[in-house]
Amino acid sequence: MTSPVLEIEGVSKRFGTNLANDDISLTLAKGEIVALLGENGAGKTTLMSILFGHYMPDAGRILVDGAELPQGKPRAAIRAGVGMVHQHFSLAPNLTVLENVMTGTERLSSWRSGTSAARKKLLAIAERFGLKVDPGARLGDLSVGEQQRVEILKALYNDARILILDEPTAVLTTIEAERLFATLKEMARQGLSLIFISHKLDEVMTAADRIVVLRNGKMVAERRASETSKAELAELMVGRLVTRPVRKPSAPGALALEAAEVTVKIDGVERLKSINFRLREGEILGIIGISGNGQAALAHLLSGTLSRTSGNLLLFGKPIGNLGVAAIVDAGIGRIPEDRNVEGVVGEMAIWENAVLERISSPAFSQHGLVNRRAGMAFAKEIVDQFDVRGGSPASRARLLSGGNMQKLILGRNLHRRPRILIAAQPARGLDEGAVAAVYGRLLEARRQGTAVLLISEDLDEVIALADRIQAIVGGRLSPTVEAGDADARSLGLMMAGEWDEPREADHAL
C-alpha cells in the first residue's frame, strides 16, 4: 500500500465537560473514499473541523503527505491541499459562481483580478469531473444541489487533493444525492481522496470504500464497505441494536380532514394547485415528494400560518374557513414543523416556555394575561419524562437540546393531549438512527390511538414504512392515492416524477 495522504494521530478535543473527540486516529489513502459514520453529537464534525483548522485540538496531530499541519490555521490546510465542503455552505448568494470560487484566492494587494484565467481554470475543473456549472450565474439563483457543486468546485479550484464533505446529502434530494456520489467516485478514480460525514447507512454502504464509526467521541470501529452490513453498522453506531418500528394493520375510522380542490397562491405563484386528499382517523397518509414541490405550503396551510386562495377544507365533515394558528391548535390539530430549529422552537427560550408557547392563551397556562409558570413547568416536566427528552430540564434553554431531543419535545407538546389530527412535516429529517426509531414509534402509537396523521416526507423508506396510503406531491399537485401495499420504491419514484394516471371517480370514493 502506498503511504497515506492524510494521517490523523491521536486527536482529542474537549468542550467543557464533554469529550467531543477522544484519541482518534485514522488514515486516508490516495484515491480512497472514507465515510465518517456516527450519530449526531458523535464528534464527526468536530474531528473534521480540527483537521481543517477551525478548532485547535487538545492533543494529537495531523499529517498531510507526511508533513505535520500547523494547528488552527485553515489557510495552511488549504495550502496543503485540504478542501472542505460545509453542511451550511460558506458562499455569498449575491455573487456569481465565478466570484464565489475566486474569493479568498487572490492577493488583496494585486491591481487587477485575473477573471479570465480563473474562468478558464474553473471550466477546466468542471469539465474534468463532470460538474456542469455556469460561471456567470448568480449563486442565489441556483438550487441547493447546484450551490453544493459550487462549494465543491471552490475546493477543487484551490487545488484540493483531500476533500472533506460534512453531511453532503443532508440538503439534497435522492436524485441529487445519487449524482453527487457518482461525482465523488469519479473524483476518487482520478486520484483525489475524500472523507464524507454521514449518519445515513445506505449512503455510506454505497459510496464509501471504508467506513469509520464514531460514537460518543470515540472511534469504535473501522470496516471495509465490502465486509460489513447495514445492520452491523447501525449497531456499531448506536451502540445497541435498534430496529425501526413497523406498521401493523389497523382499521381507519371516521373522515377527519378533507381537502377539496384547494389552491394556495403566494405572491401570485400557485404553490398548491387544486389538491384533494382525505385523511381518516387511525391512519397515516403519506405525502411523498422531492422538496420544493409545495410541501411547505401544504404544511403551513394545515398549520394555520397560511391561507388558501380557493377550495374547501373540511374538518370532521364541517367546512372550515381560514383558521389561524390558535384556532387550529384549539381544534385539536397537532403540528410538527418542517424545520424544528426555525419554527419548532425558540432556542433561547426555556424548554417549558417552548412547551406552552403555542397554547399560552389557554386557561391551562395563563389566567387574565398572566402566565402560569408553575403549570407550564409541570407540563414540560411531564413531556420530558414521558417522551424521554434528554439533555435538559424544563428550565434550561431549548437550544441546548440535540436534534432528536428537540423533536421529542415538539412531539411531546403535540401528542401529550392526544390530538385528533397530526400534521407531521419531515418529522425525522436530520435525526440519528435512535431518534428516528423513537419518532416513528410515537407516530405509529398516535395512529393506533386513533389520531389521523398526515405525514409529509421526502424519504421513500419512511413513507413506505409508516403510511397506510400514499400520495405524491409534484409541482403543487397531488397524485391520486395508492395503498401502501401496492406501492414500492419504483412505482413511488415514478409518481414523484409526476407520472400518474389522471384521477378516476373511484379514487374519490374511498
Binding site: F15, G16, Y55, V325, G344, V346, G347, L357, G369
Partner: protein, 349 residues
C-alpha cells in the same frame, strides 16, 4: 487565540458583566484623565463626591437619573423584542411639548389631582404616536426602523423648535424660544423639600418594577420575547407578530414620551430645545448596561447620572473638561458590548 461559543451562560457572569464593563470604562477614561495631567484616583473621588457628597448633589444626581430610567426602559422593552427604537430622544421631546401644549391650551384650568395624571398620559400618548410612524413603515413596507426612528428625532426636534418659536412661544421670555410654562399646579410634587428631586423618580422606579413584571410574568411579555428571539418560531406558535410589535412599540414610545412629560412637569416647567442633553440616546446606553433588564435599568441610570453630575464637580476642582463624563459613558457602552460578547464566547488558546 480563538473564540468558541459557550454552551452555558453562567449566571454569575450575567451579574458580573456590567460591573466589569463599568470598571473597564473607568480605567480607560483614567488614561485620558492622566493625560490631562490630573491625579486619576483623586478625579474619581471628586466625581463620587460631586455626585453624592452632599444632600444637594445626591438629589441632583437622582433628578438626573429619573429621565434616564424612563428612556432606558423605553430602549430595553423595545430591544427585547428586537424592535430597534433609536427614537427615544424624539419621543421625549414630543412628550414634553405635548404636555406644554395641553397645559397651555386645553387642560390648564383643571384641578391638580386631575391635571397631573392627565398630562402624564398626554405625554405618553404623544410618544406612542411618534413611534407608530416608523413601526407602520416597518410592518407595511419592511423599512428598517433603526434608520426611520433615528431620523424622526430630527423631525421631532425641528417640530418642537417650530412650536416654541410660534404658537406655543412664551411671550414673557424676552424673545427666547421657549414654550409657555405649564400651570404651577401641574408641577409634580417634590420628593424631598428644598431640592429639585420630584416624585418622577418614584414613578420611574415603579414603572421599572411594573415593566419587569410584564416581561417576566405576562403572556404579552412571553410573546414579545419570542418575537424578538425567533420571529418565524413565534409565528408558528401563533404569536400575532404585528399586534405584539404594536404593543411593544406603544410601551416603548409611551415610556420615552413620559420621560419628556416628567422632565417638564418635574424640573423645568417649560420646553426649550435643550431640555434633553441626549436623554434619549443615553437611554440606549443605560438599557445595554442593564443587559435589557428593567430592574438593572434603575442602577444603570444612576451610574450614568453619577458620571454626568459628578463630572461637573470634578471639572471645577481639577480643571478637566466635564466632557470626560460623556467619554466614560460612551466607553462603558463599548466595554459592555465587548463584555456581552464574552458572556457568549470564551477564549481558547
Amino acid at each position: 487565540m480563538r473564540f468558541e461559543r459557550r454552551e452555558q451562560r453562567p449566571f454569575h457572569l450575567l451579574l458580573l458583566t456590567p460591573l466589569l464593563a463599568v470598571v473597564a470604562a473607568l480605567a480607560l477614561s483614567g488614561i485620558l484623565i492622566a493625560i490631562a495631567g490630573a491625579p486619576v484616583l483623586d478625579a474619581y473621588w471628586r466625581i463620587l463626591l460631586g455626585a453624592f457628597g452632599s444632600r444637594l448633589s445626591a438629589t441632583e444626581t437622582l433628578t438626573r437619573a429619573t429621565p434616564l430610567m424612563l428612556t432606558g426602559l423605553a430602549a430595553a422593552v423595545a430591544f427585547r423584542a428586537r424592535l430597534w427604537n433609536i427614537g427615544a430622544e424624539g419621543q421625549f421631546y414630543i412628550g414634553a411639548i405635548a404636555v406644554a401644549a395641553a397645559s397651555a391650551k386645553l387642560l390648564g384650568n383643571l384641578p391638580a389631582p386631575a391635571l397631573v395624571p392627565l398630562l402624564l398620559l398626554v405625554g405618553a400618548v404623544a410618544g406612542m404616536a411618534l413611534i407608530l410612524i416608523p413601526l407602520w413603515l416597518r410592518l407595511r413596507f419592511s423599512v428598517d426602523e433603526v434608520v426611520t426612528s433615528l431620523l424622526m428625532n430630527f423631525v421631532a426636534l425641528l417640530f418642537v423648535s417650530m412650536l416654541i418659536d410660534g404658537v406655543l412661544k412664551d411671550p414673557l421670555a424676552f424673545g427666547w424660544p421657549q414654550s409657555q410654562s405649564v400651570s404651577d399646579h401641574a408641577m409634580l410634587p417634590k420628593l424631598i423639600a428644598r431640592s429639585r428631586l420630584h416624585i418622577g423618580l418614584a414613578i420611574a422606579i415603579a414603572l421599572a418594577i411594573i415593566v419587569h413584571f410584564i416581561q417576566s410574568r405576562t403572556v404579552f411579555g412571553l410573546q414579545s420575547r419570542a418575537t424578538g428571539l425567533n420571529p418565524a418560531g413565534a409565528v408558528f406558535a401563533g404569536v400575532p407578530l404585528g399586534k405584539t410589535l404594536v404593543k411593544v412599540a406603544c410601551l416603548s414610545g409611551g415610556l420615552a414620551g413620559l420621560a419628556g412629560a416628567i422632565e417638564v412637569m418635574g424640573v423645568k416647567g417649560y420646553v426649550t430645545t435643550d431640555l434633553s442633553p441626549g436623554f434619549g440616546y443615553a437611554g440606549i446606553v443605560v438599557a445595554m448596561l442593564a443587559n435589557l433588564n428593567p430592574l438593572g435599568v434603575i442602577l444603570a441610570a444612576i451610574f450614568t447620572a453619577t458620571m454626568f453630575v459628578g463630572a461637573d464637580g470634578m471639572s471645577r476642582g481639577l480643571g478637566i473638561p466635564n466632557y470626560i463624563a460623556d467619554v466614560t459613558v460612551a466607553l462603558s457602552l463599548l466595554t459592555m458590548l465587548i463584555a456581552l460578547f464574552f458572556t457568549q464566547y470564551r477564549i481558547r488558546r
